[in-house]
């Protein structure tokens, strides 16, 4: 499997209602650090937004990144962006590029800091 199998996949809740598509994948470092090489990364959560445009600029995840006009425009486009944890994924159909979330999944704000 590839990262790009996840990116752009449709995300629906347990009832089949769409949340949008995966616009980014948050990775978390695991295991010991300081061995001279980076430890593994695991998929921690998915950034889900109704649209893709402009998400590569990162403004929906940062409220302090300028310039203001651009930030406002991208944040408006992505105002419904949410973060869902990978363990809230009930089913991932790689072929159909479709991810179904569990009934009790939680939606978090996408801010990084």
């Amino acid at each position: 499997m590839r990262l790009t199998d996840l990116l752009g996949a449709d995300v629906v809740d347990a009832a089949g209602d769409p949340l949008g598509q995966v616009t980014d994948v948050r990775l978390a470092q695991t295991g010991p650090v300081g061995t001279g090489v980076l430890a593994r990364f695991v998929v921690e959560s998915l950034l889900v937004s109704p649209r893709h445009t402009g998400s590569l600029f990162g403004y929906e995840r940062r409220h302090d990144q300028g310039p203001a006009l651009l930030r406002a425009a991208v944040r408006l486009l992505h105002r419904r962006a949410v973060m869902v944890r990978w363990d809230a994924v009930d089913e991932w159909d790689v072929e159909a590029r479709r991810i179904t979330l569990t009934r009790d999944h939680e939606r978090h704000p996408p801010e990084v800091a």
Binding site: L56, F57, G58, Q65, G66, A68
Partner: protein, 409 residues
């Protein structure tokens, strides 16, 4: 002392390297047709290139990454590839114009038809790209380019009525003999000539070539903040000199030879010899810069090793691109297209391509993950946003104006 010298050298080469064939032809042409009524565009354009070159230089110094490297990261591979194709079309066209400009300058010296000089010029450009160290290339042509200061001397010796010039320049109006769309067409062309995208590719990649780090931020800024505006003064001088000599005589510029006539008028034979040296240095230096910019951008998109800081065999794909683009540039000129016409189109298409380059730079220069505390301040962002609007307007207006005015006729 050594530090002062190296800073001075940087500023001088930034001045001498500022003007290329696009600035030369467009400013001369506009001065001869519109007098000083379009000089305000040069001011706007020079401020714009200062704003964005400063950003791209800061990004290069802080991250070690040049502009196109980051274009793909921020736009993704698809939009990045489109951007690459558009930017390469424009930079390639400029490359053709510069090689043609060198050949035309040599024709004025040697009286040999420029078409015979084109293959020789192409070979010379390629040899410099292949063999000559980056700093030598930049310093030699930058310093020789200062010969264009002779246009400023010419203006001074022509002794214009300064108060009336200032008045016309600050209260611009469309001359009676020209249509409003034509005026705006040339406004867009001048803007494109001043803000040519390759200057930013080259400036940021040059920073990486010279291994800039955070310590070089001051030097890089000084080059941009002092060197570029003073380089813009050269553009000014060219436009004013043709406005003073060619406009009253009813001469429209369509050859490089005509661009030199105000200098011979005011300074005589020594003047024209210096101007020819300046033409040669400006076009040859810019031919190297645009050629390198093509190689830089393609390599940076795909992540290949690029640059003149390694041996050619260590950057084989980069050097293959340089070789092929030089051959292609020579081939285009050998079809006998008029290099001056190519130049006129290249500056207008530069205007079309401006947002492709400047938008991603503005985003990256604001990203704290790359830039740490050196992200854009209020001034850079304020100006950056204003210019983003301006370059978008120019890009949108360029083609309709070109069709409407039959390319400025």
């Amino acid at each position: 002392m050594k530090r002062v010298l190296s800073v001075a050298l940087g500023v001088l080469t930034a001045i001498g390297g500022f003007v290329d064939v696009g600035d030369l032809v467009t400013n001369a042409l506009v001065g001869a047709r519109f007098g000083v009524s379009l000089l305000w565009v040069v001011v706007v354009g020079v401020l714009g290139i200062v704003v964005f070159a400063e950003m791209s230089g800061r990004v290069a110094a802080m991250t070690g990454r040049a502009t196109f490297d980051l274009v793909r990261e921020r736009l993704g591979p698809r939009a990045g590839l489109l951007n690459l194709a558009g930017s390469m079309a424009v930079t390639g066209l400029t490359f053709v114009a510069e090689i043609g400009g060198v050949a035309l300058a040599l024709e004025l010296v040697s009286s040999v038809n420029y078409l015979l000089l084109v293959p020789f010029t192409g070979l010379a450009v390629w040899l410099v790209l292949w063999r000559v160290r980056f700093s030598i290339l930049e310093n030699v042509f930058g310093l020789l380019g200062l010969a264009l200061l002779v246009f400023a001397v010419a203006v001074w010796r022509l002794g214009p009525d300064w108060s009336s010039l200032v008045d016309q320049a600050t209260h611009p109006s469309v001359p009676g003999s020209e249509g409003v769309p034509t005026y705006w067409y040339y406004a867009v062309a001048l803007f494109g000539a001043a803000m040519t995208p390759y200057e930013v590719f080259f400036f940021s990649s040059g920073g990486v070539e010279e291994h800039w780090t955070r310590k070089d931020l001051g030097t890089s800024r000084l080059n941009v903040l002092v060197g570029f505006p003073l380089g813009g003064v050269l553009s000014f001088a060219i436009a004013i000199s043709t406005a003073l000599v060619l406009l009253p005589a009813g001469i429209e510029v369509d050859t490089l030879g005509q661009v030199g006539l105000p200098v011979s008028e005011a300074v005589g034979r020594v003047g024209i010899a210096i101007a020819l040296l300046g033409f040669f240095a400006a076009t040859f230096g810019a031919a190297c810069e645009t050629g390198l910019s093509v190689g830089y951008s393609v390599s940076q998109y795909f992540g290949w090793q690029w640059g003149k800081y390694v041996r050619p065999r260590e950057a084989a794909l980069f050097h293959t691109v340089l070789l092929l683009s030089t051959i292609a540039g020579v081939a285009v000129l050998l079809t006998t297209v008029d290099p001056i016409k190519v130049t006129e189109y290249s500056v207008v298409f530069s205007a079309v391509a401006l947002p492709l380059t400047y938008f991603p730079i503005l985003v990256v220069a604001n990203d704290p993950d790359y830039m740490g505390e050196k992200v854009n301040g209020r001034l850079a962002n304020g100006l950056g946003q204003v210019y983003l609007v301006l370059v978008t307007l120019a890009a949108v207006a360029a083609i309709p104006l070109m069709l409407l005015t039959k390319a400025g006729q």
